[in-house]
Each structure stands twice: as C-alpha cells, then as structure tokens.
Subunit: 245 residues, 2 copies
DNA sequence: GAGTGGTCTAGACCACAGT
DNA sequence: CTGTGGTCTAGACCACTCG
C-alpha cells in the first residue's frame, strides 16, 4: 500500500494536492502500488493523509492527466497497466538526453531585429513593420545536430538584445525580462528538407524531417513568440497523452 | 459582456460546469467577450450564473485547458489573443473527418486474427501466441489517400469478428462491444516511406511521411489497442495545446 | 489597500457498477 | 443493496499584482 511515513508539509509553498500527487506517483513507480491494482476509495485515502476529499481528488486528477491511473465510476481507480514497462520510448529523445546529463549545444545562425512581415505581424498580432527579433539556431547534442529552431519575437515590448542565445534558451530569456509563457499551440507535421536544412542537420538530401510550428502566449493572453522548427526524425519525436472526457 | 439570457439547466445530465464552459466558449467565439479582454472576477461571475465559485472555476479551467483563456493571479482572466478553436479529442480519425463534413472512405487491406508476436504481446501485455486482430486500412478523403492505419487488438477478450471496418471505425467498434477507451499515449514522428507505402498513399518514392504510434488503454487500465499509422504530411498534421503549470 | 486568482475544508447528494 | 467516483455548495484563508 501507500507509504504513510512520508508526511505532508502544510507550511510548504507547494500545494497539498501536488505533494500528494508526487507521493502517489512515487508509490506507483516504486511498485508500492501494484500495476493494474486499485488505488481507490478516495474518502479513506483522504482520511489517511489527513486532507479533504476535494484535495485528494485534485491530486488523483493530476495522475489521470499524466496517464498514470484511470478512474471508473462505480468501480474505482486503477493503476494503468503497462505504465512502467513501456515498450515504446514515451519520453522525447531530447528529454532523455538531457536527463542523462548530456548537454545540448546551440549555435546561433541568425540573431537580428527586422521589420515584421505581413505574415509575422498577423501571427504575433502586431503592426506590419514593427521590430521583430529573428532567431535561427542549430541545436545539437554531443556535437550531433538535432534541430534547426526558427523564432520570431515581438521586440517593441520585449528587449532581448543583450541575451547570449548560445548559452541561454529562449524561454529562460523571456522569463528573465518578465514575460511568462502560459499557453502554446503546436502543429506537428513532416516534410522533405531543403538542401540547406539537410546540410545543417547532416541528413541526406531530400530526407524526411519532422516539423513543429508553435505560437506561444504570455500569461496576459498576448502572442509573444512564433516558432518554426525542424527536427531530425531519427533523433526526436513528440509524445502526447490524451484522456477521454 | 456575457449573455445571461441563456440560462442553465439544473435538471440536465450535463454538468453545470460544462454548460458554463460552453456558454463562455460561445461568448468568446461570437465576440461577446472581446479578444484580449477580461473575463474575470470569478466570484461575481459565479453569482450572476447562480452557481458556487468552485463550479465557475471548474468551467474556466476547461477554457484554460482548451487554450481559450489565460489566468494570472492578482490580475484576472483574459481571452487569448488570436485564439483558434481546435480541440483534440480521443476519437478516431474517421470521426474527426466526418464531423468536419468531409467524406472519408476506408479500404480494408488486412483483417485477420494472428498469434501475438513477442513485440505485440509485450505492448498489449498478453501472452505470446494469444489471438490478436491485425487490421490494416487505407483511409482517404474525397477519393484521395490520406493515411495507412495499422492496428493490433487483443481479441481473446474482445470479439470484433463481425465488424465491417470499411464502414465503422475502430473506436466505435470497441465501444459497441463494451470497451471504452479512456487514455492513450501517442508518439509522433517522421520517416521516409517504403515503396509500398508511397504507392498506397500516391506519394513519390521516398517521400516524407508523418508517423503516429499509439497505445490505447480502456477505463480499467488495460491496454486494448496498438496502432502504427502513417499520414501524408501535406494533408494531415497534429495539433497540441500546452498549458503551463 | 483593494481586488484578483489559488488553495483548502466539510459537508451533501447523485449516477453508476457489481453483489 | 453497498461502494465507488462525479458533481456541487458555502464558506475560509492565502499569495499575488497594481495603483
């Protein structure tokens, strides 16, 4: 069953439901909660941890969203079968490499402020001709090219001129100037690479590439960044967890 | 502001938070709630609709998850600037296309029950040699090929022998026999097509294809379906909405 | 300081599944 | 029938932002 010696810290800034979710998550990963087994009885679970049922439910909802457990009305909550022994690599390659301590390297190909074209202006919802930061970076791991990242950021409100993008990522740079990304919409597709792209990525000419277009919005709802990226498909993939309801 | 003439139906089986989310969603789409404008004050909003704040919050949470609004503590809730409605659902491609008014057509290439290989068995978490339905379908729209769908379903518990897969999608067929998909993990990538795949999809030899591998779990947590699909990238892409936190 | 969203509680009743 | 998750209420206090 669940390890109850690990207690909750009510003085911590970390919300109780998140602490609970982490403990349940850990219990599943260590096998304390058997795969395919029941988690349930929210009420007793809540009592054992000394929280209200609503808080416990919120913790379980996090696990549902992560695809770790499923709930069925009238039956109970079960640990998803095959959640641990996943035959498919269900995390992205980039995360795998990062978690293995291998550091990504970045080469800045383009870093310039240009007037917004009609396309960029309409996507970032700014006036045509407004200054826009155009960033083009080659991202690699251990010297092997992984992706070409193309970004456009409206700079008449955001000043990123002093950022060294060979050392700092775009998102940390945005956070450093007070812009907090809150929501992003991505479109994932594929196409053949141009000769230049294939050269950059060390791919044979005309090779298949994975593409990802993204518009990121700040926590005020404004679009702040437009990205058009390409990835080597043999080294990168996107994983998505969907839940019904 | 918000149209208050549209009232809530407390006797409906549809939860209040969902009715609220739909009304707010509609108010955004019709422009009654101006883009970039404020939605906020959850407490007064709840009072106006005659629900508790918790219920109103849950409705707003749906909109946040859909990427329609963003919330900022101490400030308020704003409609996302440049929002496009494109929800991702846990349904088959067939349903997606049908709901958009297009005419999908399906050609069944393979429909056979075979003993599970070690790979299929480990993914579906069944014993090697157990009967598995192997389905291979060519999916097109308006006569143009769109995707090649490859599915494996453990059939020792699920009987789909009488299903006409040229007319009925896999997910409806599963529902018809009492299996309710609850969670799915997808991996989206790209590669060059084999000669056979390119012929089926009417693509030039060696063209870039979009790939999607998926494991679907039922509401009891058991894996029920494994899919390996390829799509013509000029006709299909995946959209994902991410939210911070 | 005033106003906002974020968290949490302690109840209540309902819908559904399995006995 | 019992037990489960699903929904909903009416409060409370806190953390944060901004004028």
């Amino acid at each position: 069953m669940i390890d109850e010696s690990a207690r909750l810290d009510r003085s911590s800034p970390v919300p109780l439901y998140q602490q609970l979710a982490e403990q349940l998550h850990g219990a599943i990963e260590t096998g304390a909660l058997s795969v395919g087994g029941r988690l349930g009885n929210e009420i007793r679970l809540a009592e054992r941890f000394g929280v209200s049922r609503a808080t416990m439910r919120r913790a379980i909802e996090q696990l549902v969203g992560a695809g770790a457990v499923v709930r069925k009305r009238g039956v109970g909550t079960s640990v998803v079968d095959g959640w641990i022994s996943r035959p498919i690599r269900l995390t992205s390659l980039f995360d795998d490499l990062a978690s293995e301590g291998q550091k990504p390297d970045t080469t800045v190909l383009v870093n310039e402020v240009i007037p917004a074209s009609t396309e960029v202006a309409s996507i970032l919802n700014i006036a045509v001709g407004q200054p826009v930061l155009h960033l083009r970076r080659l991202r690699g791991v251990n010297g092997d090219p992984l992706a070409v990242l193309n970004n456009y950021v409206a700079t008449h409100l955001i000043d990123l001129r002093d950022t060294d993008f060979s050392r700092i990522g775009l998102y940390p740079a945005l956070r450093a100037v007070g812009v907090r990304p809150s929501m992003a919409r991505q479109r994932i597709g594929a196409r053949e690479g141009t000769p230049e792209e294939c050269t950059l990525l060390d791919e044979p000419a005309g090779g298949a590439l994975l593409t990802m277009d993204r518009i990121t919005h700040s926590d005020t709802g404004r679009p702040v960044e437009w990205g058009r990226h390409i990835y080597r498909p043999d080294r990168y993939a996107f994983t998505v967890t969907l839940t019904a309801g």
